[in-house]
Amino acid sequence: MKLSMIISLVCLSICGYSQNKDTTTISDLQVPNSPGFQLLDASPSNIERPTSPKQFALTILNATGSGSAIPKNFAMEFSPYWFTKHTSDNIHQYLSVGGEYYFSGIWRRLSVSITSVYNDSTSGSLLKNTNYISAGLRTNVFTYRTKTDNEIIERLITEKIARLKAVYKEEGIGADPDDDLADLKKDTAYQAVADSIKQMLQTPAIQLDVAAAYSEAFADNNYAASRFNRAAAWATLTIAPSILSSAKGGNLAILGVARIMDDNALTDTVKNVFTQTTCFDWGVSLNYTFHNMSVSAEHLDRKYNGNSALNSQRTVLVIQYKVSNSLYVTGTYGKNFGNVQNLFALLGLNFGFGSSSIATSK
């Protein structure tokens, strides 16, 4: 029965069609972890992570040849809050746990990412022999948890401390902390508490994250030949109102995203003309998960400054059914970006390679 249903769905997926190639989704517009890298679509394999002002200065000196050159193919990410000692802060403040810590503080969660990408051949939007330098910031504006969630997390943290104490009592502190880590991993009660905390921390009632990034391009790595390349700002608002979630395991989440991007792209390769375009995207999605079924509705709106003919929207309904841990059936229907041939209808299977495609209940 299950197999025949899957075969039918695969057949239907062949009948479905999608004419528009722009597949931007809500998740593509969310606040990126490293906005400085994201702005250049860079995935640096070697990222410097200085942990003190001294290390930061040394990293900059190395990257710039003691201040005499523009950094080339370099990536750095750091959180300045951790550069200094914080004797009076505690984990409740950092995680926004407890009634008095709604605002963990923009400074506490601030992350800075800086990168430089230089290629001798053109790759995507990055032109050859041009050094692109980008810097970005990301932080959490506020995280609000319900009183009940705060009480549960506080209790779990207290239980975790009790497990640390139990392991300390049984084994003591060894010369090698890996032995202590191994002892903790063997402690099933500790693991259960640790997993519960992680799950609770992932789903605050309301959370607002923001990010911004800016990049310049240096043709032939020459400072005098610099030009604006791209700038962007992101905001992601997540609302998981537990009051609307059912006691039987249903879970509702609302996600709002906004992104503004200013792009200075090469539009005339003969005359070497760059044209600046500003694009504003915003979107909202409602997701309801109940046992093996997930239903989400998603609306995205795109506006171009000075060229309203290009403005467009995407509205889709996505239904996912989890057949097994590694097999999902996904149905998508709606209107995609663009004003012609924009029907979006797709049925397909996801074999669960890579990340799970169904939201998990709280």
Partner: protein
């Protein structure tokens, strides 16, 4: 001239006090044990009443009964609820203060030396182990 990591008690029957605070974020458990010169070990304080590894100011005994004792103070810091990207920074900027008072030495703050702290290979667990010798 005082020896490092040694606290001078004197011979009067004063209360010797200990206070510990750990400058790190994470879930922290701290315990102080007294190891008398004759052997054995006895817990004198632990931080299970809080999550930041603090031992509030409290008496660890009379000065004339503590000569030759070693006070072993151990902390285990669990960083698993912080982003892994900050674990190294927490370790590098870790601070701890061990304040002894009540003896002829007066109020003395011992810090966390580089060889007092260690971290697991993945960086998620930090341990601090500090030993203070008590002497008259």
């Amino acid at each position: 001239m005082y020896m490092t990591n040694t606290y001078y008690l004197g011979n009067l029957p004063n209360d010797i006090n200990l206070q510990v605070s750990i400058g790190a974020q994470g879930e922290i458990y701290t315990e102080a044990d007294n190891e008398p010169p004759g052997g054995g070990s006895k817990e004198i304080a632990d931080s299970s009443a809080n999550t930041n590894g603090t031992l509030p100011l409290s008496s660890i005994g009379k000065s004339n009964t503590l000569n030759g004792c070693k006070i072993e103070i151990g902390s285990i810091i669990d960083l698993s609820d912080l982003p892994p990207s900050v674990w190294s920074a927490v370790f590098d900027n870790l601070s701890a203060s061990y304040i002894f008072s009540g003896g002829t030495h007066g109020d003395v703050v011992f810090g966390c030396d580089d060889d007092d702290k260690r971290k697991s290979q993945d960086g998620s667990i930090i341990t601090i182990s500090k030993t203070i010798q008590l002497t008259t």
